[in-house]
């Protein structure tokens, strides 16, 4: 039975009721199509309230488990879920507020905001799920609204192509996830993650190949959302074709939901399986980083560069997952970087959105002289790119630093782990090639004109928030790391022993 006052339930109720309320308001509204601001404000209010609920729950809720492994119910109120909820809600808020400007000249606002809210519910519930069925439902709740959102510019063929590709792969990956869950159910007779973990430990060795197949299917299914190589191919097309605010939601939000599910199911759930799934993740991580960075290196469109860069970032985060069983803070580091990346990538995409709606520029050539034409946007974009590259003292540095550090630390028990750190550092160097290139274009080169553009206020607010986040938590990252380490169990090896 779900406690109605537990965080996930409260958040679902808040966001769900508002998501349903907005279309009703729209239907009652006589003069259609001019309520963008109102809906944006309502959605913002709901998301902010939900964020407040989640954060206050962390501060007031005593004895919240880090990451609950329980067979009591399908949803657990734990800090792991709360951590991801904070990331998702921050992203959703940034998307909603910047949509205030971005969606001004478009139509169907009620549906737009309602879908964002519904997708947010899905993401949040993934973070809290303790049951495969619940996870699947949440997964679909997150995905289906985004299919529609990706196609939101319905007269724009690029947007449609983006959505179709996204939908095709989304459907495929859902099917694969269900297949994986089916196998696990067949092997253990339960859909609860904890029970299935217990069942796996006593598995008949003859059935092991099936369990491994399930792992492969989970990696593929969740890897689609995370943008792991080789399941990443839809991603550049979709991120650059979808409306930029939606690309923000996809890159910063749903991608992280993939990680939440992967940690719940693969890292925690299958840690009992004494197989080398970690080295598989490591290989994928190296390919993902490298291909992402190489792909980004010669792109010409900024959203596309950002899309590739988010593939590379998924690779870095995956390092933490791969070494999680061998070190104490691999998962902490990954979680920290997930939250950091959510904000950095949102900031970069929102800045790109600002450029698109003010000067209509997509390509890097058009970014020349942006430092003068749109000073705040250019500044925050530059800081976000540096942070993505991992330049100290910005927040992105600490995430990477801890991830690579954990990989080196894990070297005692896994010979391959230090190579991950080396690959990561080399890739960071490579990634500077395109990050600095953009900054150089913005500041060092003369633009086609020197007209100072009016930067949309809501977007400026979002950007300044992100700037503050990146700089503040770059200098003083302690609280975030503390929260991240509260969210994952201290010692995963200990966890296995307990079973």
């Amino acid at each position: 039975m779900i406690d109605i006052f537990s965080t996930p339930a409260l958040v679902t109720i808040i966001l769900g009721s508002v998501a349903l309320l907005i279309p009703i308001l729209d239907a009652l509204n006589k003069e259609r199509g001019s309520k963008n601001k109102v809906y944006s404000a309502i959605a913002f209010g709901a998301l902010a309230l939900a964020l407040a609920v989640v954060i206050s729950r962390i501060f007031t809720g005593e004895n919240l488990p880090a990451l609950s492994l329980t067979n009591n119910g399908v949803i657990a109120d734990d800090i792991f879920g709360a951590f991801f909820s904070i990331a998702f809600l921050i992203v959703s808020i940034m998307v909603t507020v910047s949509s205030w400007s971005y969606m001004k000249k478009k139509s169907n606002h009620a549906a737009y905001y309602s879908l964002i809210l519904l997708s947010s519910i899905g993401m949040i519930l993934i973070g809290y799920s303790t049951d495969f069925v619940m996870l699947l439902v949440a997964w679909e709740l997150m995905s289906i609204p985004t299919y529609a959102l990706a196609a939101f510019s319905k007269r724009d063929p690029v947007s449609n192509e983006a959505a179709i590709k996204y939908f095709l792969f989304g459907a495929l990956s859902s099917a694969i996830i269900i297949l994986g869950m089916g196998i696990v159910y067949g092997l253990t007779g339960t859909t609860n993650i904890y029970d299935s973990v217990v069942g796996m430990t006593t598995l008949n060795p003859d059935l092991m190949p099936f369990a491994l197949l399930a792992v492969a299917l989970f990696i593929a299914g969740f890897g689609f959302k995370m943008g792991l190589v080789p399941f990443h191919m839809w991603l550049p097309d979709t991120y650059s074709g979808a409306p930029t605010t939606i690309a923000t939601l996809l890159a910063a939000g749903t991608k992280k939901a993939g990680f939440a599910a992967a940690i719940r199911v693969i890292v925690i759930g299958l840690i009992a399986l004494n197989v080398h799934w970690t080295i598989t993740l490591a290989i994928i991580a190296i390919f993902t980083m490298t291909l992402g960075n190489l792909g980004a290196l010669t792109q010409k469109s900024i959203p596309r560069i950002l899309a590739y860069s988010s593939i590379a970032q998924a690779g870095y985060i995956l390092i933490g997952l791969a070494v999680a069983p061998y070190t104490n803070y691999g998962l902490d580091a990954s979680l920290l970087q997930i939250l950091n990346h959510a904000v950095m990538k949102s900031a970069a995409f929102v800045a790109a959105a600002a450029v698109i709606i003010t000067i209509g520029a997509y390509t890097i050539e058009k970014y020349r002289g942006l430092g003068y034409r749109m000073p705040i946007t250019a500044l925050v974009l530059a800081v976000a790119l540096l942070s993505l590259a991992g330049v100290p003292p910005l927040n992105g540095f600490w995430g990477k630093y801890l991830i690579f550090g954990s990989a080196i630390d894990a070297g005692d028990q896994a010979w391959w782990a230090p190579y991950l750190a080396i690959a990561g550092v080399l890739n960071s160097a490579l990634s500077l090639g395109y990050y600095i290139w953009i900054i150089r274009k913005m500041y060092m080169e003369e633009g086609e004109n020197r007209i100072r553009q009016k930067e949309p206020r809501p977007i400026v607010a979002v950007l300044l928030f992100a700037l503050g986040f990146m700089v503040l938590f770059g200098i003083w990252y302690g609280p975030l790391l503390d929260l991240a380490s509260m969210a994952v169990p201290n010692d995963l090896t200990h966890l296995i022993a307990a079973r």
Partner: protein, 699 residues
């Protein structure tokens, strides 16, 4: 110890003292479209606010309390950020805050009608914020952040007039030594200061991290409580080198030999900046650092830290001598003051060094810090007064002044007061007492070479009195120079500067005399404060070091001892020291008076014989040190680098580099090849991926 105060109450003030100037600096650019007055008043407001906060914690310091509050910072390295306001830091912080507040008030008028006021105020606030960070932080790492902030701000302010107009240069045009020009533009001077400081900073950084490698902490208190790191370093013979490396930072920042050259060129900045650099924020940082780590190393005296203190004392002595001699012959008023600063800082270093070479650490320590206080007061005052004169006569050469005492009566009086303090006029000036204390501590030490140090100290005191009187005489006495006559002919009236300008330096000059009048008692009080502080925190007493554990056990008795000592230490007076300082003042002052005030002997006459002419040239060319440094540090390395560039780097740039670039682009193209946009291919890769992963897992 009265007990440490944490985050509550006054603890927040200690944080705000250094944060407020930074907040102010961040706030100033917002006023870019506002009028000049508002900008200046806001900046002054921030500095005053910080000063009052410093004042609010002064009682804590005087009662030997301590504010130590920490917050977690880099939890991965187990580092905390924190402020540590103990008596040393609190007194220093007040000194910095109030002197810079006075200089800020002065700046309102001095920088009137200056175009880039935003930049000026931003860096001024940044400057004092960084300095307060150095003073108040509880670990070397944060000190280093402040250290770098000070370096950056000084660079920006020394080169403030980056247009490099001829009138902002220092040095005589056309004066070259060994092919090195001795006249410098503001931008050049800024870079020079920055680079020389950098040399010191690198030493400091390596020293810091050496200690960190062994101790795992940067915290001053943590280093004190657990001394196992010192054992470990001693075994590797690394303890003294690490300490000396940290002292290298102080050498750079305090412009000690051999990194002293930047200080003279730093005169290209606005005079208010010079005042700030010399009195409050920059060169004092080095002395403060030594005062910060000195007791720590002295408390480790079981490990034989003698060499460290010896180096400190001798570096100070050499610098004091070197720069005092050069001040004798320089024609520029600001440069004379700059030389004198370096020389006086040398005194402080000497005192702090000699403190570590005796069993009675407290005397030398107090003497050094007392001199720091009195020097800060009179030097800030002198610089601001010099700025007022520059402002009026539009020239930096003393030969372009002369006879100003009638037209600028107030400036004359207060500059004379401050000058007397610098020269060490007996009994009524703070400079006399602090110098006397240094002499006494050198005499009392049982260091084997202390007589040489004493000799140097007295000689420098003679020279100090001489060049001070020379400066006063050239500026205020004699006939008005050609420059002033010309100006008056053109209709410029030479007159007193306005209130906002003379009040700040008047206040400081008077303060230095007031401290001088009660100098004896003041010294006793300071001695008492430091005696209790050093004994309760470091276990340093009159008779050497006692283990810290005993200090904590018997806090009450130790404090009683301290009080006892304060009375005894204050009433002792070394007749030799007093006689020496009075004589030094008498001799130097009399000669200066004869040559430059009464003008009964023409100094040019002395210069006619070969020996004194050679000596004059040697001093005027700065002992050739500047030229040597340029040849060694700039000209020869650049020549070498050109070769490297030609034969090696060129190859890298145009041979190897492009191939890296092209191979990356090629790989990128390959990576993109699959990204054709065809969903069929995407699906194919996806499925292949599942199969590969399954095989990986099964293998």
């Amino acid at each position: 110890m009265v007990g440490a105060i944490g985050f509550e109450g006054l603890g927040v003030n200690a944080w705000l003292i250094w944060m407020l100037p930074f907040i102010g600096a961040a706030f100033i650019p917002i006023l870019r479209n506002k009028n000049e007055k508002l900008k200046s008043y806001v900046a002054v407001g921030f500095s005053l606010l910080s000063a009052f906060l410093a004042l609010s914690i002064l009682p804590v310091g005087l009662s030997n309390g301590e504010i130590h509050s920490q917050i977690p910072w880099f939890s991965a390295l187990n580092l905390d950020a924190g402020v540590l306001a103990d008596p040393l830091a609190i007194i220093m912080s007040n000194l910095v805050a109030w002197i810079s507040a006075a200089i800020f008030v002065y700046s309102i008028s001095y920088m009137h009608k200056e175009k880039s006021l935003i930049r000026y105020w931003f860096f001024m606030l940044f400057f004092i914020g960084s300095m307060q960070l150095i003073v108040l932080s509880d670990n070397l790492l944060m000190v280093f952040f402040g250290w770098e902030g000070v370096g950056l701000a000084s660079y920006a302010l020394i080169g403030f007039w980056y247009q490099d107009r001829k009138k902002d240069y220092v040095g005589k045009e056309g004066h070259t030594v060994w092919g090195i020009p001795m006249w410098t533009s503001p931008t050049h001077a800024g870079i020079k200061a920055f680079l020389q400081n950098r040399a010191g900073d690198i030493m400091m950084l390596s020293g810091m991290f050496l200690i960190f490698m062994y101790s795992g902490t940067f915290g001053f208190r943590e280093l004190l409580t657990d001394q196992t790191w010192a054992h470990a370093m001693m075994q590797q013979n690394l303890l003294v080198p690490a300490a000396v490396l940290i002292f290298g930072g102080a050498i750079g920042k305090s412009a000690q030999f051999p990194l002293n050259e930047w200080l003279l060129e730093a005169m290209t900045g606005p005079t208010s900046v010079s005042a700030l650099i010399h009195a409050a924020t920059m060169v004092k940082a080095g002395v403060f650092l030594v005062a910060r780590i000195g007791p720590l190393f002295f408390a480790l005296s079981v490990f034989n830290m003698q060499q460290f203190f010896e180096i400190v004392a001798w570096v100070g002595a050499i610098t004091a001598m070197l720069l005092a001699t050069q001040a004798l012959v320089n024609p520029e008023i600001k440069k004379v003051l700059a030389y004198s600063t370096g020389s006086q800082i040398g005194y402080m270093m000497m005192a702090l060094g000699i403190a570590g070479l005796t069993t009675n650490f407290i005397d030398g320590y107090t003497a050094g810090f007392f001199h720091l206080i009195s020097h800060a007061l009179f030097k800030a005052s002198l610089f601001m007064a010099a700025g007022a004169i520059l402002h009026t006569v539009h020239s930096r050469f003393m030969t372009d002044m002369g006879g100003l005492r009638k037209n600028m009566k107030r400036t004359y009086i207060f500059m004379l007061l401050a000058s007397l303090s610098l020269a060490g006029a007996p009994l009524i000036t703070s400079g006399f007492w602090s110098k006397d204390a240094i002499f006494a501590s050198i005499l009392d030490s049982n260091y084997e070479f202390s007589s040489y140090l004493f000799f140097i100290a007295v000689t420098v005191a003679v020279m100090t009195a001489f060049y001070t009187f020379r400066m006063v005489g050239l500026v205020f006495f004699g006939k008005p120079s050609q420059n002033i006559v010309n100006m008056e002919n053109k209709g410029h009236r030479i007159r007193e500067v306005n209130q906002l300008m003379w009040l700040p330096f008047a206040v400081l000059a008077v303060a230095s005399v007031v401290i001088g009048l009660v100098g004896f008692a003041f010294e006793g009080q300071l001695h008492h404060v430091f005696a209790t502080y050093l004994s309760s925190t470091f276990g340093i007493t009159e008779n050497g070091v006692i283990p810290l554990s005993e200090v904590q056990d018997t806090t009450g008795t130790v404090e009683g001892e301290g009080q006892h000592e304060a009375t005894s230490g204050g009433s002792e007076m070394n007749p030799v020291a007093v006689a020496a300082s009075v004589t030094a003042f008498g001799v130097g002052g009399f000669l200066g008076y004869l040559f430059y005030i009464r003008r009964s002997v023409d100094p040019a006459k002395i210069n006619e014989n070969v020996v004194s002419k050679g000596l004059w040239r040697f001093l005027y060319n700065r002992w050739y040190l500047n030229s040597i440094l340029y040849w060694m540090g700039v000209v020869i390395p650049l020549g070498f680098y050109r070769r490297v560039n030609k034969y090696f780097e060129h190859l890298l740039m145009y041979g190897i580099n492009p191939s890296v670039q092209h191979s990356m682009v090629f790989m990128s193209k390959v990576a993109k090849m699959a990204q054709s946009g065809d969903v069929q291919i995407y699906l194919y890769v996806f499925s292949a991926g599942i199969i590969v992963i399954t095989m990986l897992l099964l293998s």
